[in-house]
Symmetry: C2
Subunit: 127 residues, 2 copies
């Protein structure tokens, strides 16, 4: 028995759509995003570290998100560099436009897939 069919995997484009959608609700950071994607999808979508961090870096390079380091101080903290850090990602104006494009692209995608599912009834072809 192989694993049962639940949902198709995320393409890179769909992953970007999901992450930009989350960031539209407010800034977040890698670990939280990863957990949120799993929780909101009822574990259907999973974005692991090896997928997430390179993608976030790419979004940053493209100017779709702006980043900000938060120092999570331990009890005592000198001016050292070793404390735990949290990298916040905030949707930029460019990112919002990209999100809108991804949403529209997804709607076209869904529409075409549905036309295949509907089949000949929808195309006028003879059955």
């Amino acid at each position: 028995m192989s694993k049962p069919i639940t949902t198709p995997q995320l393409t890179p484009d769909h992953t970007e759509l999901v992450i930009l959608s989350l960031l539209r609700e407010g800034p977040s950071y890698g670990y939280a995003i990863s957990k949120l994607v799993a929780a909101r999808s009822e574990e259907a979508f999973k974005v692991g570290p090896s997928q997430l961090y390179p993608l976030l870096t790419k979004l940053e390079k493209q100017g779709l998100v702006e980043t900000d380091w938060e120092e999570i101080k331990a009890k005592s903290a000198g001016p050292d560099d070793n404390g735990r850090k949290r990298k916040w990602y905030k949707l930029s104006a460019k990112g919002q436009r990209r999100l809108q494009q991804r949403i529209e692209a997804h709607q076209r995608f869904t529409s075409i897939i549905n036309s295949f599912i509907a089949g000949s009834e929808a195309t006028g072809a003879v059955a």
Copy 2:
């Protein structure tokens, strides 16, 4: 300038859904399927030979399709083996069940993606 955003790519699961959907309308063969996918999707989806033939072979091995060779005879044809051939694919009962599963999985997929797009409004979270 990179290519404009049109639709996300097809995952293997979505490609299978599209091809099984086409075969539900009646038997077809590789080249015709490739052309049909492009035509019906207004060129948004493209399934080239290197993607299509391995996939069709896989579907055949899984018993989702049944195959049948058609000899396309030239004007003269002895009992030779060199004539052009056409390999027909017909959806099996098992393939029909698989298609139904893929359709349901796609609907779950769409539903989850839409919930991300809808965002906080749909989740009860504070904006």
